[in-house]
């Protein structure tokens, strides 16, 4: 499969001497839905800024759909659509005019730009607002306007920098559906987000950037397989009483009817064994869920410096049921 984005040895040092990127390499294949994650200040926005020409790189090369952004900038930019983090459209223009103008910047004839503007405003449920001055739109509408604007020239590579920030869950899910549809039609998408649930459900491949370096670049499945422990929350019908007998598991009673259990993946622990123990202890489970999103768990683990090279786990919570963990030596 061809490469949609190829970054080699990308470095950025700002005028104040801060080195935001320390030579990153990244490959995103055509048709991919790719997550670029990292904490604030890790270098995500700098990377995207370089792709979109609002940040000048210090070294390295960037090719978009095979076009080098230095040698072949027009073709490279023609292939690229951008949804930045901040609202940056003209606040005094009408919604429809913003899209038509954007189309013009990409060489679309006025007639074609109007046609595309209608197409994407309808798809993003903004057609009724076409004659509205953009500053009067709600936050969610502004986010959708940004996406419509980025799509008006139908780019091959769409870069979304936190597109659902501040958007309510219902709208966020409808935007996920829309983006999945765009991706299914062949558009490569690169997404940065702080909603890791979003990245986990949408993206097939992922890179994690921290302190200007890519610390992980793999498929979402591979990354999640590296997760060595998961924490589950169980709601129980009957009241729980310490001490609990769950040999081999680290468990914590949260309240009378809620239990937290940590499962070490790959240490012969399984939910089946746990449920057998529940049966033996007379515990009736009414529901269960992950304590946190799996990708979030992985993300936090990766970013703890010691977890990459010898992270020291914090002291155990005194509420942990001692005999459960100690009996098998499985507790950390």
């Amino acid at each position: 499969m061809s490469v949609a984005l190829e970054i080699k040895g990308l470095k950025k040092t700002y005028a104040d001497g801060f080195q935001a990127l320390k030579g990153i390499d990244l490959h995103v294949r055509q048709g991919d839905f790719f997550a670029l994650l990292g904490p604030n200040g890790a270098g995500k926005s700098t990377t995207l800024g370089i792709l979109t020409s609002v940040v000048s790189k210090s070294a390295g090369s960037v090719c978009i759909m095979g076009h080098d952004i230095d040698q072949d900038f027009q073709q490279a930019k023609q292939c690229l659509g951008v949804v930045p983090q901040e609202f940056n459209f003209n606040q005094f223009e009408k919604v429809f005019d913003i899209l038509v103008t954007q189309g013009g910047y990409y060489g679309l004839s006025r007639a074609l730009a109007k046609q595309r503007a209608e197409k994407y405003l309808r798809k993003l449920d903004l057609w009724d607002k076409r004659d509205t001055i953009s500053r009067t739109l709600s936050g969610g509408m502004k986010r959708r306007l940004m996406i419509a604007r980025a799509l008006v020239h139908e780019p091959q590579l769409l870069v979304l920098d936190e597109p659902t920030a501040g958007v309510d869950i219902e709208l966020r899910r409808s935007m996920w559906e829309f983006l999945t549809e765009v991706n299914d039609e062949g558009t490569t998408i690169i997404l940065t987000t702080h909603y890791l649930e979003e990245a986990e459900s949408l993206c097939r491949n992922i890179a994690i950037i921290d302190e200007g370096q890519i610390i992980e670049n793999t498929s979402m499945k591979s990354l999640l397989r590296k997760l060595t422990r998961e924490i589950f929350i169980f709601d129980t019908r009957n009241a729980l009483q310490a001490p609990l007998e769950l040999p081999g598991f680290t468990a914590r009673i949260m309240d009378d009817n809620m239990l937290e259990v940590e499962i070490e993946v790959g240490k012969e622990q399984s939910l089946n064994k746990l449920f057998t123990l529940f049966d033996g202890a007379g515990i009736e489970v009414t529901s269960m869920r992950n304590k946190s999103n799996r990708l979030e768990e992985m993300f936090v683990n990766l970013l703890k410096p010691g977890n990459i090279v010898g992270y020291d786990k914090p002291a155990e919570d005194p509420m942990v049921v001692p005999n459960a963990a100690a009996s098998s030596g499985a507790a950390s």
Partner: protein
Amino acid sequence: MNMAIQWVSFKTIVVKEVRRFMRIWVQTLVPPAITIALYFVIFGSLIGSRIGQMGGYDYMQFVVPGLIMMAVIQNSYGNVVSSFYGTKFQGNIEELLVSPTAEVTILLGYLAGGVLRGLAVGGIVTVLALFFTDLSVESWPITISMVLMTAVVFSIAGFLNAMYANSFDDISIIPTFVLTPMIYLGGVFYSVDLLPDFWAKVSLANPILYMVNGFRYGILGVSDVSLGVSYFMLTLFMLGGFGFAMYLLTRGEKLRS
């Protein structure tokens, strides 16, 4: 460079700019027309009738080309500085930076917007002037070329101001403390022949003097400076300013980090 894309992009910027100043015509077209009409009434009709002749013409006839030029200068400059700075301030300059629009197209688009507003206001002022005096044009080619070149020069000046501006204060300081004194001392209201030798020579350092006098030559056939020098100065400012603006745009001065 794909010229078809650049041409469409250029037209898009120009249409956007024209729509902008037409949408807010109460701020962009009416105030300069009223201000200049007041100059016609006060300096032309009321005071001008007591001044008598200047440069061989009635004061009203003498002052009209200068006032038209003043309108063109202020509005070409004002359009580009406020529009481009507004684009920077709101962040929607990124719409252009991420697109295949070349730097030269961005510059030409904004300059065309400035020139068109300058000419629009200049046209309105010219029509108003006809209510106060008869205007006959001595040379259309000189008149048109002078007004066009002046509009281009001050559009470039407005663009440079907007490039460097960090706040709205920065885009009003230059027009207030630099441009207005240069216009008032640039021979709009008087002939430099009236000044003592020293101040007449100092006035020659003011580029607006050449523009106003070149335009006045096109309309009345009289000028305080040679026409050739006027064209030379305008060409110099145009090329120098354009080159500098391109340099700043290409470097992404205050646009890219």
